[in-house]
């Protein structure tokens, strides 16, 4: 499998008032296309920072981040945005649906931003995805009418609708009960299998990590271990 994410000796510093917080202190990571990996670590370990760099919403202080062959340091804001739109999908801890739009419209939204699909094509793709996540009957509902698990399914559909190469999920189950969390992870895994989409999700929950093909452990801004799932006691 080709390498889709390549991170080499990346450092990320934040300036908080006069203190410099070293969120990442020389991280190397390589992710192959089609992987289903978890970035694990406690709060403040740097996992969200790492996810932000992969998600092209932030850039590294030094080192190289290559996403699908693009060196993010050399891209403009506009190009980074385009990369996020076309190559990446996002699933958020708090779901982050647009409250005023219906389920269908939320999922359709990235396609509209892409401006390259016809109405018919969009409808077909949105309907197909909603069916896959089991929400085809809720297409016209507003997010506020849905449960947490349902909202996260909408978010998954939205992340996948542009057929991205990578889907990033930041603590996707943190706001869900464990049963719902399991079904969400199962759904993500299913999508990973079916579409060969690379999934990278962060978590601090051991039970959630166990779903991953590979777990990357991070602590104090460094990767402490990267191993296949189940290899860890």
């Amino acid at each position: 499998m080709p390498e889709i994410v390549s991170i080499v000796n990346v450092r990320k510093d934040y300036h908080l008032d006069k203190v410099i917080v070293q969120a990442l202190q020389g991280v190397d990571l390589s992710v192959d296309a089609g992987e289903f990996i978890s970035i694990a670590g406690p709060s403040g370990s740097g996992k969200t920072t790492l996810l932000n760099l992969i998600g092209c919403v932030d850039v590294a202080s030094s080192g190289t981040v290559r996403i699908a062959g693009h060196d993010t340091a050399s891209l403009s804001d506009r190009e980074l945005t385009r990369l996020r739109l076309n190559t990446l999908g996002f699933i958020f801890q708090s779901f982050n649906l647009v409250p005023v739009l219906s389920v269908f419209q939320n999922v359709e939204f990235p396609l509209l931003l892409q401006r390259r699909t016809t109405r018919g094509e969009r409808t077909r793709r949105v309907d197909e995805l909603l069916e896959k996540v089991g929400l085809d009957r809720h297409a016209l509902h507003r997010p506020s009418e849905l449960s947490g698990g349902q909202r996260q399914r909408v978010a998954i559909a939205r992340a996948l609708v542009t057929r991205p190469q990578i889907v990033l999920a930041d603590e996707p189950t943190a706001n869900l009960d464990s049963v719902t969390g399991d079904t969400i992870l199962a759904l993500m895994k299913q999508m990973n299998q079916a579409e060969k989409t690379t999934f990278i999700f962060s978590t601090h929950d051991a039970k959630v990590m166990s779903h991953a093909d590979k777990v990357v452990r991070i602590a104090d801004g460094r990767i402490v271990a990267a191993q296949a799932a189940g290899a860890h006691p």
Binding site: S94, L112, R115, D170
Partner: protein, 702 residues
């Protein structure tokens, strides 16, 4: 941008609008923004329509009454025309021969008519009640023995009644006045005139007795009215056919080519009418058309007070028979047992909201037929004296054919006080005669036996010896006598019946000329053409538009408009600041949502467009609602009318009520103003929103 991306554009715009519409109900702030825009648009549409209607009405009133679309006047003038400035006559140089100006101006294809004019003012003296009564008695006496005996007796009784009224005045004056303040001779004269002996001896020497009354008694009545008359001399025929706002109210138009005058109805009512009657009219109108109440309106209370105390004009007019009849009527109307007529009239005029309409009816139905309501009636001659251009006092007699009004300016003493006079009479008063006309005038005067008598001439002629004036008079120059003299010796009937040809009217001086256009929208262009023509042909003219020609009044329009636009401007500036703040707050509440959109691939442009679209959609929605309600309000006002509370408003409204039309201009302007204000106020928050980082979408929810 590819073809595909273009095809998706409407969808994206639709998405933006959809997000905005959905967001409308999402925030309380939007409601505040919406209400501000709603109120602003409402104000703009209603205010704009009212101002526009006022502007249109007023400009049509001004243009259609006397100003025309533009005015030309001599370039040598010190001032510029100010047709409606009653108290301030502009210093205009004369156009020596109007016909030489008219012809070239009429050659301009856009000129419909050129009407010569000149504005002047004069004091007009109308005789008092005693003069009128004595004059009648003298005529009756002179007509003996043809005059019926009863008529003379009745007139004698009236004069005696007048003497009694004056006697009563002097008695009360003597009681309160300091010693010597009352002229002893006058007291003696009055005593004689009121004595039985005087009246018993009247028939033996009526002329002698009349002379005593005329010279010694009539002068003791201080009620001779001096009326300030503001007039425009013009070619009355052309004027009448050109200015559509002019309408004859009483009497008739001045016959074609004749000398004559039409008094402004407003002036006729205000100054020539019996004051008590005029005040009753004013109260009546205020109550019926403006819904005012005597009990609550200080102006009306003042009228009532004046009516109670100023009854002498009525008392002087009544002969004993009428006085007795009047007393009966008043007793019946008031239920009073009083016998003295002055007291009775005082209680009669003590009107309240409860009894006013009854008293008004009684006055006009029963008392007025016994009175002369006007100092002058259509068909009467009016003597006008005015200081001419060269400084001497010129006087003419001119027949008043009736009254007229300018529709829309009827009640306005700002603009409705202009009376109309024929151009020949105006020229006589103005006193400037072209050399060519001197000879003809001389010939005419010789034919008619007429002479213009001015003070300066009169003096030189008097002391020079052999003039007619010298023969007729000895010693004192008395303005009044001199005028009477003119009235007698000008065989005014000859001038009155003479018909002047259009050429005679045109070939003489004019002070200015109103130019009426076929296409008023080309005003500026035609003004420029006429100015160029004047310069090229050395006509020595200056051109001003109607607004300037109207004088200060024309500027009021501008000021009213400026005030409205300034008020609107302030409202929208305030709206802009408030909306700006509200949108900033609304945007801060949505940082997470905006961050999410940025994270999943929305460009900054999209976020910018989204915030702008939302505010603009909000603006257009509430703006449309405001415009709709505004239009409804204007439609209602168009039906109901806005009452004019005072003379200023009467003028601005061109009538007692303004019936505003919805102005499409205001609607269109409101649309663009709302668009501009919302865009401008949302611009900063929209730019702020583009700075929201996609990282902010990642932050956890608290």
């Amino acid at each position: 941008m590819t073809l595909q991306s273009l095809r998706a554009l409407p969808s994206e715009a639709a998405l933006l609008v959809r997000i905005s519409l959905r967001n409308l109900s999402g925030s309380f702030l939007n409601l505040i923004i919406g209400m501000i825009i709603f109120a602003g648009t409402l104000f703009f549409v209603v205010g704009g329509s009212i101002i526009n209607s006022m502007d249109t009405g007023m400009s049509q009133s001004i243009i259609g009454s006397v100003a025309g679309n533009m005015q030309v006047y001599s370039a040598s003038s010190e001032d510029s025309p100010a047709l409606f400035d009653n108290w301030n006559l502009p210093d205009l140089a004369a156009i020596p021969d109007f016909s030489k100006v008219r012809a070239p101006l009429m050659a301009n294809p856009n000129v419909r008519e050129v009407v010569p004019m000149g504005v002047g003012s004069a004091l007009v003296v109308c005789g008092n009640s005693a003069d009128t009564a004595l004059e009648r008695l003298r005529k009756a006496v002179e007509a003996r023995p043809r005059a019926p005996r009863g008529q003379i007796e009745s007139l004698k009784a009236h004069v005696r009644q007048i003497v009694n009224v004056i006697q009563t005045d002097y008695d009360s004056l003597s009681r309160v006045a300091v010693k010597n303040a009352v002229d002893k001779q006058s007291v003696q004269d009055l005593a004689r005139a009121s004595s039985d002996a005087f009246w018993n001896g009247f028939d033996a020497d009526p002329l002698g007795h009349l002379e005593f009354l005329e010279n010694k008694v009539a002068g003791l009545i201080p009620d001779a009215d001096q009326i300030y008359l503001h007039y425009a001399g013009t070619d009355l025929d052309t004027f009448g056919s050109t200015f559509d706002r002019m309408q004859v109210v009483d009497g008739q138009a001045v016959p074609k080519g004749r000398r004559g005058m039409l008094l402004s109805k407003f002036v006729y009512e205000s100054f020539f009418k019996l004051k008590s009657a005029y005040r009753l009219d004013e109260i009546h109108e205020a109550i019926t058309t403006q819904g005012k109440k005597i009990a609550s309106d200080p102006d009306l209370q003042e009228f009532v007070k004046q009516n109670r105390t100023e009854t002498r004009e009525i008392l002087l007019q009544l002969d004993p028979l009428s006085a007795a009849k009047c007393a009966d009527i008043v007793r019946a109307a008031t239920g009073s047992k009083e016998t003295a007529l002055p007291k009775l009239l005082e209680s009669f005029f003590d009107t309240t909201d409860a009894n006013f309409e009854d008293r008004y009816k009684v006055f006009y139905g029963q008392i007025a037929p016994m009175l002369e309501l006007y100092l002058l009636k259509p068909g009467d001659m009016l003597t006008i004296q005015a200081y001419s251009k060269s400084g001497f006092l010129a006087a003419i007699n001119v027949k008043v054919y009736g009254t007229f009004q300018f529709k829309g300016l009827e009640k306005s003493d700002l603009a409705g006080s202009l009376s109309l006079m024929d151009l020949m009479s105006f020229r006589d008063l103005y006193g400037y005669v072209t050399p060519e006309k001197v000879a003809e005038t001389k010939r005419l005067e010789a034919e008619a036996g007429a002479r213009q008598v001015s003070r300066a001439d009169a003096e030189s002629e008097l002391f020079g010896g052999d003039s007619l004036v010298g023969d007729a008079k000895e010693g004192n120059i008395n303005d009044k006598a001199e005028l009477g003299d003119v009235a007698q010796r000008v065989k005014s009937q000859d001038l009155v019946t003479r018909t002047y040809s259009p050429d005679e009217i045109n070939q003489g001086i004019a002070l200015e000329a109103a130019v009426l256009l076929k296409d008023p929208s080309k005003l500026k262009q035609t003004m420029a053409e006429i100015q160029a023509l004047s310069d090229a042909q050395k006509l020595n003219l200056k051109v001003v538009d109607w607004q300037k020609a109207a004088g200060n009044i024309g500027q009021f329009v501008f000021v009213a408009k400026a005030i409205l636009y300034f008020a609107t401007f302030i409202i929208f500036i305030v709206a802009l600041v408030i909306i700006n703040n509200a949108v900033v707050m609304a945007t801060l509440q949505r940082v997470r949502e905006i961050g999410t959109m940025r994270a999943i691939g929305a460009q900054k442009d999209f976020v910018l467009a989204m915030v702008l679209t939302e505010t603009v959609v909000l603006g257009l929605l509430f703006g449309s609602a405001g415009a709709a309600l505004g239009s409804a309000a204007v439609a209602w006002l168009h039906h109901a009318g806005i009452p004019a509370f005072n003379v200023f408003l009467y003028f601005f409204f061109s009538g007692p009520r303004l019936y505003p039309d919805l102005s499409t201009g205001s609607l269109i302007a409101a649309f663009f103003v709302v668009l501009f204000v919302t865009c401008a106020s949302a611009l900063y928050p929209a730019i702020m929103a583009t700075r929201v980082s996609p990282i902010q979408a990642m932050a956890s929810e608290d």
